[in-house]
């Protein structure tokens, strides 16, 4: 285990998440992609903390912020989806773009 292996793991998770966020149509699935990307941030933050500056708490704080971010993203995502759904019965992004007119 080195810093590099941890960062490679983070890169892989980020890439998968990016693929999901770009390719999926369902709002829920896009959120899953975003969550995977935040997960990559968590792994990278923890690795930097341990392998670069373990004496300082900044790395840990980054992880905590990422976890919070995930909760916020999730709650807002579902709230927005529910609001959109209520007005127009749509749960896909492609259909949501048509709401403009």
């Amino acid at each position: 285990m080195t810093l590099q292996t941890f960062l490679l793991l983070a890169c892989a998770l980020l890439a998968i998440g990016l693929y999901g966020a770009l390719s999926q149509q369902s709002i829920v699935m896009i959120m899953m992609g975003l969550e995977l990307m935040v997960n990559a941030v968590i792994v990278a933050g923890a690795a930097f903390w341990y392998y670069v500056s373990p004496a300082r708490p900044d790395g840990q704080v980054v992880v905590l912020v990422a976890v919070t971010l995930m909760a916020v993203e999730m709650a807002m995502g579902f709230a927005v989806q529910t609001a959109i759904f209520r007005s127009s019965e749509v749960d896909m992004t492609d259909m949501a773009t048509e709401l403009k007119d």
Partner: protein, 386 residues
Amino acid sequence: MDLSGWMRIQATPRPLLVTARGGGGIRVAAERVLRQRGWDLASTPAEADLLVVCGVPDDDALAAAVERVWSAFPAPRARASVHVETDVVSELDRARVRLDDVEWQRSDIAARTGAAETARAEEHTGEHDHTGHTTHSTTEPACGHHRSSDPGGGHSMGDHDMGGHDAHMMHGGDVAGLRMADRAPDRDGLALDQLHVSLGPVLPDWPAGLVVRVALQGDVVQSAEVEVIGEAHPDGSSWLGMPAAAAALDSMARLLSVCGWGTAMRSARRLRDELLTGAVDDAELGRFVGRLRRSRTLRWATDYVGRLDLPHSDLAGDATQRWRRWLDVVEGREAGHRRGDHAEVALERLPGLLEGQELAAARVIVASLDPDLDSVLPRDARDRVR
């Protein structure tokens, strides 16, 4: 004796009771015997090993439902059909012997496997894989289409749609021969997926002969249709002759069971049986009634539920008021009249009461009205009640 045989004998059977209209008296007798033997009642075929049919399922729909439930039983299994009250003990004993009869169980499994295989060869529906335990799929009812909710009668609902473009087109369609959910507006202004489920005729703590078809969103009932199946039995059942206090305790026991208070349900059944044999301890009965009246959790479950505006009727008020009236009857403070029109009024009001309620509340409403369909309705009632 081998180990499994010994374990088999140590265990007490788990009976699942099914009551046909007119079988109320038999049910009470069976419940008494089972209680004394300590055979706890099952609520789903998956849990049970003994099917006890009280009364005669003289209606195609009920007979079919019983067969469906029977086919959902895991092995080992046995069934008892009780047509007369006096047969309860002998029928249960016979079923118990069959349950422990290794040879009979073995041939039963073989017969079921054969039947299921032919059915599958004919129907050829769905993709169910055979990996591992081949016996698994044999417990499934062969028919793929029913979506009734006989307790655990199996796949009550269809496949799951994934919410994609394709899936949207599938709404309301059939997948693998199973009905899928479709959409309808709900009480919170969201058009969400809806499930069609039928409550009864085989459902624990449910009035015999009643079928309520509901559309569910989440666990909120969107719409309900009431139907009564089976032949009415205006006489010929000792049910009618039951003292009002015992009948009220019987209703109370079901309500307690639906409200999830198992211990009080057991006490109510025991006191009912003691009332019937005249061996009841009045002080204990009083204590029991007092405990129910004081229970906050019970009131929490029934307050504001199923409110009916019917002045001068026993059904007036919410579920709490109705069960308090039963307790008055138990204490002898009120005469108690299970008059015929009660059931008819209840059936008429039921759909309106159930709509917009959560399933738990819906069950409480039905249990608190407890329409006695055994004797009341004339033979042509099925068409009249809608």
